[in-house]
């Protein structure tokens, strides 16, 4: 298993897109920081710090593309046979890919957080980490949000992984991931209205993606009709279910 993970990491590290993605995150963060520096009234530094200078959104953007290609590229390049005819089993090959997705996700979240704090200390020393932000110390508010973002990223990426096992090219899987991501960003108000009308709708996976907001602002629970443990539980269950379906789909695919 260690060999397989090493091989997956080798491919990830040697893909130009991996480094372009990481560079894009940092560039956007510095770009937003520059905007906040120049237009502080519109882009308040404290708010921008909490939004990680758009680092989290960019991280998800990059991760969706990277995850979509991790399985589909093997079919696209015809490399899947040489992965599977060895002593390893399909389950091990799939699991190694899941591990690398998680490692890549953690690395990129660490990067965007490190850059967020670096920008705060270098460019915005006036942003007080101890100051209350929505009633919670700023640093704590940020980290709680990031914890929620990591969990929702897992759910989103398990869905993208499932798509990438279903499609022959990674473009279709990437498109599905982006549509899902932007749909929830835009349609959350609508979703909450539907939940208010029919409470059972709260159990759909899109509600779980509101975890970061609910963790930071407990009042949202009144609209989602889910407690934090219920939401985290639901998120984990959906992630596991999507990953399992992705594995079954990967196992069934002809090579």
């Amino acid at each position: 298993m260690g060999t397989l993970i090493k091989q997956e990491l080798f491919k990830l590290v040697h893909k130009k897109g991996t480094w372009i993605g990481a560079a894009l995150i940092v560039l956007v963060q510095f770009g937003i920081a520059a905007l906040a520096k120049m237009q502080g009234k519109i882009f308040g530094p404290a708010d921008m710090f909490q939004s990680t200078f758009l680092g989290t959104s960019m991280t998800l953007f990059v991760l969706i593309a990277s995850t979509a290609s991790i399985v589909s590229m093997e079919f696209q390049y015809g490399t899947v046979k040489q992965l599977l005819y060895r002593k390893f089993y399909r389950s091990q090959v799939f699991l190694s890919k899941v591990c690398v997705v998680v490692l890549h996700m953690l690395a990129l979240f660490a990067l965007e957080l490190a850059v967020t704090f670096a920008i705060k200390f270098a460019i915005f020393p006036q942003v007080d980490l101890a100051a209350k932000y929505m009633g919670t110390p700023a640093w704590q508010y940020l980290l709680i949000g990031q914890g929620g973002e990591i969990l929702t990223a897992l759910l989103l990426l398990s869905f993208v992984l499932l798509m990438s096992t279903l499609f022959k090219t990674n473009a279709a899987a990437i498109a599905c991931g982006y549509v899902g991501y932007f749909l929830i960003s835009m349609a959350s108000t609508l979703l909450l209205m539907v939940i208010a009308r029919w409470h059972w709708v709260k159990w759909n996976p899109f509600t779980m993606l509101m975890l970061p907001q609910q963790l930071q602002s407990p009042d949202i629970a009144k609209a989602t009709y889910l407690s934090n443990p219920e939401m985290i539980g639901g998120l984990v269950v959906y992630t596991v279910v999507f990953t399992l379906i992705a594995y079954l789909s990967f196992r069934k695919r002809n090579v």
Binding site: T79, Q82, Y85, R86, K87, Y89
Partner: protein, 303 residues
């Protein structure tokens, strides 16, 4: 000699279509087996089944005595393969492809990579990105990946695809040399003249079954022996042979006679000498793989 690969009563359906219908064959250790058959006969399917890549609907594959299936892969540690077309990551260089799959200690890994790069004559481009490779270069890299870890069994599906004549000759030399060292090969190719130069064992596949397993030697010497006789006066020679009641095989520009009796050739040569026809050469016609292959197709169609 030990059996390296054994395929027994292999069946495979794709939907309702039966692709393999009781495939049986064995390949001895250190032998080069040629798997030949028309398009769609199931060559790649057999290879995929051997490699545990697909489920089967009955039958058994054993490598060095150990069963291999989609759920039993341990023995594949000693197998290298190139199936259908080489799988190439365009963002990696040739050397990085080899780095990715090579096994062993650091020194062993380096030795294996250096050997295969040299053997496949890939030194000129091994450090450039594979996205710029030609078809032949990709093919060589695919073969190099199959041979890299010096497996005991190598399965190559159409390995000569895209290779120039020099590269084909070079590949043949590498395969023969490895086989002498004990590596077993199962190779399919439509370039029958190349397989003929390589193979010890011939497996003829048609209608989802192995219709003939034979050695190359047996194949070449199968059936009635035929000799061609070259003279300075073919017309006179033909007349002399007919006079003596010796049957000349039709459809040949040169004079060809079948060795129907032990002394048929002796009689023919004496007949020519008696009428003072100068004989410039006598050759035995060998059955070639292409002829046998075409006969097999014809007999399949006749059925």
């Amino acid at each position: 000699m030990a059996t390296e690969l054994k395929v027994k009563d292999l069946h495979k359906f794709f939907g309702r279509k039966q692709v393999l219908n009781g495939v049986d064959f064995t390949v001895e250790t250190g032998h080069i087996a040629a798997l030949v058959g028309p398009n769609g006969a199931g060559k790649s399917t057999i290879m995929k089944a051997i490699l545990g890549l697909i489920t089967t609907n009955g039958g058994e594959v054993t490598i060095a005595g150990h069963a291999v299936s989609i759920t039993s892969h341990q023995e594949l540690d000693n197998v290298g393969a190139l199936i259908e077309y080489p799988g190439i990551y365009p963002f990696l260089t040739g050397r990085q492809h080899l780095d990715l799959f090579v096994t062993g200690t650091k020194a062993v890994k380096k030795a294996k990579i250096d050997w295969v790069v040299q053997a496949m004559q890939m030194g000129g481009y091994i450090d450039t990105k594979a996205k710029s490779y030609s078809l032949g270069m990709k093919q060589k890299l695919g073969i190099a990946q199959a041979l890299l870890n010096r497996p005991k069994l190598v399965i190559l599906d159409e390995p000569m695809n895209g290779l120039d004549p020099q590269a084909v000759k070079n590949l043949r030399d590498v395969i023969v040399s490895l086989a002498k060292g004990g590596t077993t090969f199962l190779i399919s190719s439509h370039i029958l003249s190349e397989l003929e130069k390589l193979a010890d064992t011939v497996l003829m596949l048609n209608g989802g079954r192995i219709v003939q397993q034979t050695t190359m030697h047996e194949l070449q010497n199968a059936g009635t022996k035929v000799f061609t006789i070259h003279t300075v006066d073919d017309e006179g020679a033909r007349a002399a042979l007919i006079n003596q009641g010796i049957q000349i095989l039709p459809g040949n520009k040169t004079i060809a006679i079948a060795l129907t009796e032990e002394d048929s050739l002796d009689k023919a040569l004496r007949a020519l000498i008696n009428v003072n026809v100068t004989i410039t050469g006598v050759n035995q016609v060998k059955h070639d793989l292409e002829g046998s292959f075409l006969d097999m197709i014809k007999s399949g169609e006749a059925k």
